[in-house]
């Protein structure tokens, strides 16, 4: 018995993403952002996207290319303070932005990936983020219902992958990647290194292969992934 090989070209991995699709994108700032997959999404040109990502990267980096090309209608995120374009588009009403508390975005994605309908939390109960959301009382305490998030596509940056799609991450490049890798119908992972089957020890796998649909080996690391000098 052998496990199936999911390695493919980047063009085939992203082919056919429809207009109006919901796309999860891993990363927190630079680390873990799938810069190369994002460029391919720009090149293929799907429009009217809902993007779910922790942040909007910075000018000329990552998600900013999708904003510049006008492909994003809606952004579900936690913080866009380092991207002036995102803030300007939001203020002009050309980009719908839904802010979440960061750990609640993580849990909503995790719930989506775990086949759950949502989570109950008291986080943000004192804030305008709670406005209009359903609440439930459990043992006399009120909780906000935060619905699960799933996507049509997840774009993931891994450190290493094997051909089956087992993934590992390094350092703070992990962040939202393993959560989003469970929460989409089509999960596409770019990996800095693709190993032969068995190249990752089963104990070292962060995202198990059955969650992953396509594995794309990076022939070079995007220059956007270099050290940012401020």
């Amino acid at each position: 018995m052998r496990l199936p090989d999911k390695t493919t070209t980047i063009e085939d991995a992203l082919a056919g993403i429809a207009d109006g699709a919901t796309v999860m994108i891993g990363g927190f700032g630079v680390p873990g952002t799938p810069f190369t997959l994002i460029h391919e999404l720009v090149r293929q040109g799907a429009q009217n996207l809902t993007v779910i990502k922790n942040d909007a990267n910075e000018t000329d980096m990552g998600v900013d290319h999708l904003l510049a090309s006008g492909q994003v209608a809606r952004l579900i995120t936690t913080h866009i303070g380092l991207n002036p374009r995102a803030m300007a588009l939001m203020n002009e009403g050309r980009l719908e932005v839904e802010f979440n508390a960061q750990g609640i975005l993580a849990e909503r994605v995790r719930a989506g990936g775990a086949g759950l309908g949502g989570i109950l939390t008291d986080i943000a109960e004192d804030t305008e983020l709670a406005e209009g959301k359903q609440t439930l009382a459990i043992d006399g305490k009120s909780y906000i219902v935060e619905t699960a998030l799933r996507a049509d596509v997840a774009l993931i940056h891994a450190n290493r992958a094997d051909a089956f799609g087992n993934l590992d991450y390094v350092a703070t490049a992990r962040n939202f990647n393993p959560l989003m890798a469970m929460a989409a119908s089509r999960v596409i992972a770019e990996a800095e290194q693709v190993l032969p089957m068995g190249g990752l020890s089963p104990d070292d796998v962060h995202t198990p292969g059955p969650f992953v649909d396509h594995v794309v080996e990076l022939t070079q690391i995007s220059e956007e992934y270099a050290i940012v000098r401020r």
Partner: protein
């Protein structure tokens, strides 16, 4: 950094007790670590997935995959751990975070904190700030005493959208150390060279004074 701000940050570092798990917010709070002894036993947490932050590194020694939540290139220490964003906030929400130090736009006399949105002007989003403010066991604010226009940041009520209600225990500013008590703002210490009259003038709510000599920092 001004001398008063530097003394404020140094004074705030004394709030960190040995053995604590601590999250230092972006901006002034991040500077607090510079005033701890190198071998001080504390676990610094950053919400992008690291417990055990080590020293900040210059670009030529930085790891492109290793930053803190403010984007600074940091390092690990013996015993550090990496984790995903769900685990990172499980740590915060479940009460494992002993202390957080955050910046502020406004703090009310009831300890309400506003630090994520100025409607129509600046709306970067809350990031992890809501969970830190709502769930850390102790929330300390580090901030200038007034905004750039000279208006008080310490007020009877916040006018900006809230981050969390009643969360702030103590405020460190370039003018004073102030506790939030059931009776409102209570002066603990004031900065050298700042008179009580100046302090009262710069504070947008009643400020109760301790009896006896008031310590300075």
């Amino acid at each position: 950094m001004s001398d008063a701000r530097n003394r404020m940050v140094a004074r705030a570092a004394r709030e960190i007790a040995p053995g604590m798990v601590v999250n230092l917010g972006i901006g002034l709070p991040t500077q607090v670590v510079n005033h701890l002894p190198a071998d001080f036993p504390v676990c610094l947490h950053t919400e992008n997935g690291l417990a055990g932050i080590g020293p900040t590194l210059p670009p030529d020694r930085a790891d492109r995959n290793l930053i803190d939540a403010g984007g600074a290139y940091v390092s690990t220490v013996p015993g550090s751990a990496f984790f995903d964003s769900a685990v990172s906030f499980a740590l915060v929400r479940s009460g494992r975070l002993d202390l957080t130090m955050l910046g502020a736009f406004e703090v009310s006399q009831a300890g309400d904190l506003a630090n994520w949105k100025v409607p129509g002007k600046f709306s970067p989003g809350p990031g992890g700030g809501i969970e830190l403010a709502q769930k850390a066991r102790r929330v300390i604010v580090l901030s200038t005493h007034t905004d750039r226009a000279g208006n008080p940041k310490l007020k009877t009520e916040c006018s900006l959208p809230l981050t969390a209600q009643g969360c702030v225990a103590r405020v460190f500013t370039d003018m004073a150390v102030i506790d939030i008590t059931p009776g409102g703002f209570a002066l603990v210490e004031h900065a050298q060279g700042v008179s009580i009259a100046e302090l009262t003038e710069a504070t947008g709510a009643p400020l109760s004074l301790p009896t006896g000599d008031i310590p300075t920092f």
